[in-house]
Symmetry: C2
Subunit: 418 residues, 2 copies
């Protein structure tokens, strides 16, 4: 893409009411627009990052055998009353709305109830199990406070996967496989080293633990205790002698970390299938409740966690696989005709090779271009400056390693792609 | 995909409360699930069709130079009060909701106001214009009645594009280009022959006409009058002698058609930019309001229109470019080991060639497979039956042309792909 064609602009300051590091940087870089507290729109660069993350998550969910669907935000109360979750006293973050005839509806904050109900038309026999379904769908959550930028918002895209098994054993096998998929996702998104499998409460669903994926960052709302040797963390909420003993971790070596929950996986047992009546006939014709699991990742939250980890005051350096573009060509001056021609050819050649490239072809000062490039944070930068070019050279900057090198302009494309 | 891995099932009957042809067929085929009147979830096959349509629309919007963004459903009232559109007496299909602190919010039924407000951070000078932005985003509309299946729903994915120009002349040039993009979309979606550019009211925005794209179907809620020679239709709402004269159509030759509006394009002038203050500085430094246009397509509505046009009681025959899969392999029996092996190899080979293929490998009667295949409606069908196979032949059915042919099983793949 040419930067002259990009409508969104960077800005020097974030809005005064924006206190979070992630949203401040993302607003300054022209990735997102703040509609109100906890509600952010995606500009072209931000949407590109979200789509990169979505692609990673989709591939890993498909590898797990997940089938993609898309459920609705609008929810009738009947099915939620069966699990006693429609009442605002029981679930305190509903957004509710009303049909013209006065019928009260909810805006889904999650989808366990509707997916369980939906599957009653499709699951009959043990031969239909196991399977899993997932979606990328907008959740609405009526958060009281929303001061963490895109880490905790009132409307956000979530990947939620649900698994359906005949029994606990079959469920456990899938649950373990899901851990591998989640580990892959956070590694590919660039936060693998900072993200820890964390033991947490099983909630109302299970007396066993659930698991969270927690990314270390000072902006995190959670506190975890990490055992490096065992490579497992414990959420503060379940940190006690019993937990420590059951996990066999070394109490004296636990490191305390602030972190943000970027994913979670839950065993649900028959918590939903029983009251909603999702049953199957086993080999003997006996009706049994389907055993379920749920597996969530908030997509913008993961983007926010990446911004927290890879952001500094001058901008974010995006990890390769989630960057809005792979290469940023900075044409430092438009004065030199030969240089402009080189830039145009390079832009075309890279695109032809399938490289996603942003060309800064704007008629502004070089300093402005460099500041903006820092804010946009594309990991590889090609600087086409007058002086180097006259010496037959082109500067290439790897923003991750901070390595800078000069390549000969002859044969540049081949050397650059090496 | 293997049909044994597809969790969704076909069904003999649609729910009793479903009166529309499109939703009845789509529910029976396992494409959608009815959550409540006017609210439908997408099952794997339905999501695939929606994604095919989305791909076509995205490509055509990108060809127009559109930049993709994603705005939010939650809307504060301030900006909508500037155009006097927050009041339920002025806009009668809002869904409203409330923050914990009592602040009333709306769920966007369209996005002219927020995109205009958003762009005030990004448009300063005539050099920033023209450009266009688009999104695929969920709209909420509090419809009083919702009896047309997915043609008119309370929650649906919409492609909305907005154009921003310096003056009417620049706007008109884009507006005309958008017509070409829209014509391409409906042609590629398979309803080109049945879809007519239609003159309609300019609404509150303009004394000039707007344009709609109307697809002929008995299920349509609109009535249009089509002049075949001029290849233009007139919406009943603006059919009068003045319109007929201004378009130069032949009154006596107008054909009346029932139709469904599958797209619309509007000139908005400064209707939004003026009250919201989206201005630019022209070459002389004078501030002028940006001239806007809006261009909508309801994605599930287009899917519904296709279902109406290509549906019969036995199922829908999907046009090639929007079909959930390109090829359906029906393995009529699992008894013949050689036949099963042939099917498995063919399935693998087609996938390797990049063909999207569904393999019916279920252990059910052949008759059930054929019924289900009709309901799913994949345009090309390969029938692997015992008898033909023993004669060294494989049956291929083109469901669109109803052409059936027998190909030799030797060299089948090459002959089939020819």
């Amino acid at each position: 893409m040419r930067q002259t064609n990009l409508f969104s602009k960077t800005r020097y300051d974030a809005p005064k009411d924006e206190v979070s590091k992630n949203a401040s940087l993302l607003i300054r870089g022209g990735f997102i627009h703040k509609e109100m507290a906890g509600v952010y729109s995606l500009l072209p660069l931000g949407l590109r990052v979200i789509e990169k993350i979505t692609k990673i998550v989709r591939e890993e969910m498909e590898n797990l055998g997940g089938q993609e669907i898309s459920m609705t935000a609008l929810q009738g109360k009947e099915i939620w009353e069966k699990t006693d979750r429609f009442d605002d006293k029981k679930v305190d973050n509903w957004f509710k709305t009303t049909l013209k005839n006065g019928t009260e509806l909810g805006l889904a904050f999650t989808h366990e109830e509707p997916i369980t109900e939906l599957l009653k038309d499709h699951v009959k026999s043990y031969r239909d199990l196991p399977f899993s379904v997932f979606q990328f769908q907008t959740k609405f959550r009526n958060e009281t406070r929303a001061k963490s930028g895109i880490l905790r918002t009132r409307e956000f895209l979530m990947k939620d996967l649900y698994s359906f098994s005949k029994d606990e054993e079959e469920h456990k096998a899938f649950y373990e496989k899901s851990k591998v998929a989640y580990t892959n996702i956070f590694r590919r998104a660039g936060v693998g080293d900072k993200t820890f499998l964390t033991v947490a409460s099983g909630g109302s669903f299970s007396t066993e633990f659930s698991h969270e994926y927690q990314t270390e960052t000072p902006a995190g709302e959670d506190t975890i205790y990490y055992d490096k040797e065992k490579n497992i963390a414990i959420n503060k909420e379940v940190l006690n002698d019993e937990t420590i003993k059951s996990l066999g971790v070394n109490k004296s070596k636990l490191e305390e970390k602030k972190s943000i929950e970027v994913g979670n996986i839950y065993s649900l047992g028959d918590f939903y299938s029983k009251p909603l009546g999702l049953v199957y006939s086993d080999e003997k014709g006996e009706k049994k409740p389907v055993i379920m699991g749920s597996y969530g990742i908030g997509i913008p939250r993961l983007m926010g966690a990446i911004a927290e980890v890879y952001g500094s005051d001058s901008g974010i350096v995006w990890p390769k696989e989630v960057a809005p573009f792979s290469v940023h060509i900075i044409l430092a001056t438009l004065e030199n005709k030969e240089l402009v021609e080189f830039a145009e050819n390079l832009y075309k050649d890279l695109k032809d090779k399938g490289v996603e490239v942003l060309l800064d072809d704007r008629d502004v000062r070089a300093g402005e271009k460099f500041n903006d490039a820092d804010l946009i944070g594309i990991p590889k930068r090609i600087v086409l400056g007058q002086k180097n070019f006259e010496n037959g050279e082109v500067e290439v900057i790897d923003r991750e390693t901070r390595e800078t090198k000069l390549l000969k302009k002859e044969n540049f494309l081949t050397d650059f792609l090496k």
